[in-house]
Symmetry: C2
Subunit: 310 residues, 2 copies
């Protein structure tokens, strides 16, 4: 990563939970970062949260207008509400206010940039950069363009986000739910099916992931796990049991009803498992532990090139 890539003036538009977390990512990487939200109270809360971070001091430029936030910005991270009409309106406004070569990135988890940038004069600089919540803790970002996005802008966004310490991945085309939520809900669907079919309860299923699959997946993705499972790699692993795997995949459960009674059952079992620990304590613990796992991996790189990059 070159310093030139990293130190780039950034504007974060929308100061909710995702926006304030993105602002922290950019500030920690040394980027001067403007922060704007049309809701002044939300903007103040976000700025206070950023200033309260122990590893600071982090000082966003708090802006009370969109044009003010756009001043000098080379990269804009849009974090508005997930409603298409709102995103379209916001992108038209960003496009009008920002210098024409400023990258306009959306945090959307749902929409196609071809739709978001429908009313925009410079769609070539509009790109999706979908983070996991919260991006200052979990590094992966799904990056993809719309039909009119310039390939160079997609590449530049990948490089910039890598430069600020995230783990961006390229999606080659739009698909409902992108990659992350599709993989997540493939597993969640089967988890719900197993619960519904009376095979295991919520805590047993969560334990199988937390003390089994998740321990490996924090280190190796699903393909790399298959590759490591056999001395001769994924060829031998998948190839040696093709019929068993196909049979298993064909027997996976359908989409559950997800009605009120089923959701209530899941929630009650979760309440029991959580006991007297609050959700805020769970989240705080999860965030601290994710940071520690990332530190562990950074200090013990698998590949030489990772060592050089980190």
């Amino acid at each position: 990563m070159s310093p030139r890539t990293v130190v780039r003036p950034v504007a974060v538009v929308g100061a909710g939970v995702i926006g304030r977390s993105w602002a922290l990512v950019f500030l920690r990487a040394g980027c001067p970062t403007a922060l704007f939200d049309s809701d002044g109270a939300q903007l103040e809360r976000a700025a206070a949260w950023i200033r309260s971070q122990q590893d600071g001091p982090w000082r966003p430029r708090v802006c009370d207008s969109l044009p003010q936030a756009m001043e000098g910005a080379a990269y804009v991270q849009e974090c508005g509400p997930e409603r298409l009409a709102l995103k379209q309106e916001l992108f038209a406004a960003l496009d009008g206010a920002a210098s024409p070569d400023t990258v306009l990135a959306s945090s959307t988890s749902a929409f196609d940039m071809s739709d978001i940038a429908r009313d925009v004069e410079h769609p070539q600089r509009c790109v999706v950069a979908h983070p996991v919540n919260p991006p200052h803790i979990v590094p992966v970002v799904e990056v993809l363009g719309g039909q009119l996005t310039a390939p160079a802008v997609v590449q530049d966004t990948l490089q910039f986000l890598r430069g600020v310490g995230q783990s961006p991945v390229l999606l080659k085309k739009h698909i409902h739910g992108f990659v992350l939520n599709r993989l997540q809900f493939a597993l969640v669907r089967e988890a719900m099916h197993l619960l519904d079919a009376g095979v295991a309860d919520v805590e047993a299923i969560d334990t199988v992931v937390r003390e089994g699959l998740g321990l490996r997946w924090a280190l190796l993705g699903p393909f790399a796990v298959a590759d490591a499972n056999n001395d001769d790699g994924a060829r031998a692993y998948f190839g040696g049991y093709v019929d068993w795997f196909i049979d298993l995949m064909n027997q996976l459960g359908p989409t559950p009803a997800l009605d009120k009674a089923f959701i209530e059952r899941i929630a009650r079992e979760l309440d029991d498992a959580r006991g007297s620990t609050s959700r805020e304590q769970v989240r705080g613990w999860r965030d601290r532990m994710v940071v520690e796992i990332r530190r562990l991996k950074a200090e013990n790189p698998l590949h030489e090139e990772q060592e050089q990059r980190l």
Copy 2:
């Protein structure tokens, strides 16, 4: 955990990769452990591997006959090849050689104990205890009985395996692939679909899991993740977006062809991503890192009761 539960004479039957790893689990917990394999060379390799562990010295009782291994055993972990006829034959032999109140546990990842114990005189003490490979690194174990298994034996097996440091979970009935492989292949199926559909390449999909989903799943299972995602928990999280979730789950991909060309494509992309790092290096790194993540979690328990247990 009481010392009485833990220190129990164990016999491991089958000394392949899973068997030798199980033996290490029991030896580390202080259980006198007999090891038998009908293949003398495999038995010797396994014993040498166990003795070579740095945190030892671990000394299994190496037995050259099944009756010798059964002498005094209170718990038997069967780790033979995954062929039903072989397992049936082996369980009949174990049942004949072991004292009638000895628990006979199978490491099978595929078969129903109702079938395995078909020819057994004392089926009430026969139970499935399916580990993740390797059990001395990854702690989860799927425990379930067959139609004739005594419920007390299932409970005792859960308690014993918890006592030796594993994370056993109860499956309330048999289902093809159990819980772990069904969840794994639900995600793998969608990963293959996204690759096949040209949405992302192998390394991008692996990165989404490794630097995104897996970081959370090493700490919280899929239901607990949903609970933590919303201030008001899983009720609000699932309930607030029911239509979106159902739509997403309904659009997940079908089972891929998994033909030779597709497997070859996956394998080639994995070879490129792995570069000059050997599979043995990947596995060694993975095992060391899983141990470190487990240490991190044990030293920073989320709940009070975990702290007391660990």
